[in-house]
Amino acid sequence: MPTLHLAFEDGFEGDEVVVALDGRELARAKGLKSSLATALAATHSVQVGPERGELSVSVTGKGLQAALAIDLAATPHLGIAVREGRLVLRASADPPVYL
């Protein structure tokens, strides 16, 4: 079963984030707060049924939403961030670096 590696990156200030694949909730992270030193709030890995699908993310308190077609075989890492007022999703093949 493929694994989706979620990284809640910069821009979170005690937020709640919901991640869903094809409408099915995969993860709900509460109280996310990003570190200025690492630009990371939290990471979370979740096993997923289908390899491909429409991934949707919402920051509930801020009314932010974004969606992305994802292929977990090619890009199992998903970075989620709020930058300049926008929800940014970035899928990658390699694990991102946090420093």
Binding site: A37, T38, L40, T43, K62, R83, P95, P96, V97, L99
Partner: protein
């Protein structure tokens, strides 16, 4: 206040030999120059002083001359100066900067820093002369600076630099003779400790091992920082830290790292010092984190850690990542933020997500990690180098300002006009030409479309929304960014404008997050930057405004009453019932009661009257219940009587219009046509905002 730039400094144990003002034995600036140039022998060498330079020996052919960049330090007097000259050599920034330390008996304390960002530099065969006006961490009496450094051949020892301060009118202040100390602008002592299970620490990487954006060379942490002008001197007693200190799971938390730093960092003190600790460990609590500047308590930024669990290995890409991580974490210790997070600094700076810097994240670079590494030249960007070399001491030194505070203060070039501007927009900044001391400072911002097809823009011209920044150059040369007292989270909106329909807003900027901003008489210069929807930086015209000195006792007393943080907050908020602002309300009452006929009393009446015109809600501390103070229209009318004719909008409770009313009070002679145009612009903006708000409902 004692001022190391001028005559007042002489009251202390000043180095009389180099005082060009009042002290006995003072030298003229020319004499100091001659001396620095080795052309004279007007003084004898004494304790802590250097004697005249030897006359150059004639040589039959020209020898190459040394550069003059580096660090210089005066050695005598009541103030000691560390001077950094950055005008030639590798990656020159054409700046100078310095730190003053006051000496009293056997104690030495940091006094303040200055920097000259864009000096005029004149180089002859014999001398480098650097002229400019500094910006300072204090208000100097003599802000102009001239530095002269003789150029010597490579066979001669480096010559000292002579620094002379001048007043704005050209009167000489104090001078300092600073012998050469180092080719490096800063020297930092670094101690590296290793956790028992971490494996080998990083040593060096050849940047030609994989494609990159710079010349191939072998870089260690020390040589990477040397390229930025910093000497990293290995110091202290290297220690092996037992992994048991990480407690359960053998992974490290911030608290464990800090405790370990205090225990093992042999040079550690909870004070500002150019000393830093780097720990090589195996794993952080979150294995995705490969390095962290963990020290964010007490005196911050003194320690960082890198984690070999994710970084370790000997392949080229692993060695490259290790070099990057080690240098990056130490960059945080110098108070550098990530490239795309510069706006989170206090004060903020524009984000630079496409910066090819140690401080960027490869995966966030446009085009991704591969594009970053292919273009990365293994260096900091120019603004970061400027910060490291020339930032005010406490903003750079480990244990100085807290992380992110002052990390971008010197980046005032964001307010430079771009070389090319295709934004199709023009930002206009306007204000009254002069203000009384204590008077609320209000500016008018107007955004015009220059593209005849019109432009879609956001209408958020108030800096509180974070999309407009205003730089203020103070009479002492210090440049600061206006930081709003309250930052607003805004729902992104767009409006369409065309050349015939600009949008505008009046903004009170006299008081912000860091307090009062116009508390000194003198001439101020202001410039604003509007960040467009596409990220363009639309830079305004520069305006000059004068804050007038009080001319009589009443002016002086009113200025004292109004230059009060609580009054500033009340002007910002257009009044408030909050208990914590009581001293401000008392001051406004006193202005109204005692100086009712004074022009500045109108602001006090406007602020109080506007507040009384609205109801005011507060949460009671004891009951958590909302208490509502009803609007008091009769009392409001009494305060605002007479102002209506002057400002027109005084009875409104719309904050935008109230601020505009302040601007009209400041500039009663404003032509009716200008006032009408400004009102039309504001009305257009307000209507557009309301329309957008409705569309979101």
């Amino acid at each position: 206040m004692i001022d190391p730039t001028g005559a007042s400094a002489d009251a202390g144990a000043h180095d009389e030999s180099f005082t060009a003002s009042a002290a006995p034995g003072a030298q003229t600036p020319a004499a100091v120059e001659d001396q620095a140039a080795g052309n004279g022998s007007t003084r004898a060498a004494g304790a802590g002083q250097i004697g005249p330079l030897p006359l150059p020996t004639p040589i039959p052919f020209p020898l190459p001359r040394r550069g003059v960049s580096g660090r210089y330090r005066s050695s005598a007097g009541s103030f000691r100066l560390e001077l950094r000259i950055d005008v030639d050599g590798a990656r020159t920034l054409r700046r100078i900067s310095g730190d003053f330390f006051s000496v009293s008996g056997s104690t030495t304390s940091y006094f303040g820093s200055f920097t000259v960002d864009a000096p005029a530099i004149t180089t002859t065969n014999a001398l480098v002369t650097i002229d400019g006006i500094g910006r300072y961490t204090w208000s100097p009496g003599f802000p102009k600076i001239r530095v002269t450094v003789p150029r010597v051949t490579i066979l001669q020892p480096q010559a000292p630099a002579a620094l002379q301060f001048f007043s704005l009118s050209g009167a000489p202040g104090t001078s300092y003779l600073c012998p050469f100390e180092s080719v490096f602008f800063r020297t930092v002592q670094i101690e590296t400790d290793i956790v028992s299970d971490a494996g080998m620490p990083f040593a060096a990487y050849n940047t030609g091992s994989l494609p990159s954006g710079g010349p191939a060379r072998t870089l260690s942490v020390q040589s990477a920082y040397a390229e930025a002008g910093v000497e990293m001197r290995v110091a202290g007693a290297s220690d092996v830290v037992q992994v048991a200190e990480a407690q359960a799971g053998a992974t490290w938390s911030d608290a464990e790292l800090h405790a370990s730093m205090v225990r093992h960092f042999s040079l550690w003190q909870d004070v500002p010092q150019f000393k830093v600790w780097q720990l090589v460990a195996k794993n952080y609590d979150n294995p995705s984190v490969l390095g962290i500047m963990f020290d964010q308590q007490g005196k911050q930024r003194q320690g960082c850690a890198v984690f070999n669990g994710g970084l370790g290995g000997t392949t080229a890409d692993k060695l490259r990542l290790q070099l990057y991580a080690y240098v990056h974490e130490l960059g945080h210790c110098f108070n550098l933020l990530h490239s795309w997070q510069k706006s989170l600094a206090t004060p903020p700076s524009p984000n630079r997500p496409s910066s090819l810097s140690w401080m960027n994240y490869p995966q966030l670079y446009p085009g991704g990690s591969a594009a970053f590494w292919a273009a990365f030249a293994f260096q900091f960007d120019d603004q970061e180098v400027a910060h490291i070399r020339h930032g005010f001491l406490n903003n750079v030194i480990m244990g100085g300002s807290n992380f992110a505070v002052g990390s971008a203060l010197e980046d005032t070039r964001k307010f430079d006009r771009p070389i090319e501007d295709r934004s199709g927009l023009r930002l206009e900044l306007a204000a009254a030409r002069s203000f009384a001391l204590g008077e609320p400072i209000v500016v008018d911002l107007t955004l015009h479309a220059t593209d005849t097809r019109g432009k879609t823009v956001h209408p958020h011209l108030n800096p509180s929304a974070g999309l407009v920044q205003i730089a203020i150059s103070k009479p002492n040369g210090q440049v600061v960014s206006y930081e709003p007292m309250i930052e607003q989270c805004i729902m992104p909106q767009t409006v369409s404008i065309n050349p015939a329909s600009p949008i505008g807003e009046s903004v009170y900027i006299g008081y912000g997050h860091d307090g009062l901003l116009f508390e000194q008489p003198g001439t101020y210069q202001l410039r604003a930057v509007y960040t467009s929807l596409r990220g363009s930086q639309v830079v305004s015209n520069i305006i000059k405004m004068r804050v007038r000195s009080p001319v009589n006792a009443a002016d002086d007393e009113i200025a004292d009453l109004l230059l009060n943080d609580d009054v500033g907050a009340l002007f910002y908020l257009h009044g408030s019932d909050a208990d914590e602002l009581r001293s401000g309300r008392d001051a406004l009452d006193k202005v109204i009661d005692k100086f009712g006929a004074h022009p500045l009393a109108a602001y006090a009446r406007l602020t109080k009257g506007a507040n009384l015109a609205r109801e005011f809600k507060m949460v009671a501390v004891d009951s958590n219940k909302v208490q509502v103070r009803k609007a008091k229209p009769a009392e409001s009318d009494k305060l605002l009587a007479g102002l209506v004719d002057t400002v027109g909008d005084a009875h409104t409770t719309d904050p935008t219009m109230l601020t505009a009313a302040m601007l009209t009070l400041a500039e009663p002679a404003r032509k009716p046509a200008q006032k009408a145009a400004a009102a039309a612009r504001r009305a257009a903006s307000a209507n557009a905002s309301k329309a957008m708000a409705r569309s979101y409902e």
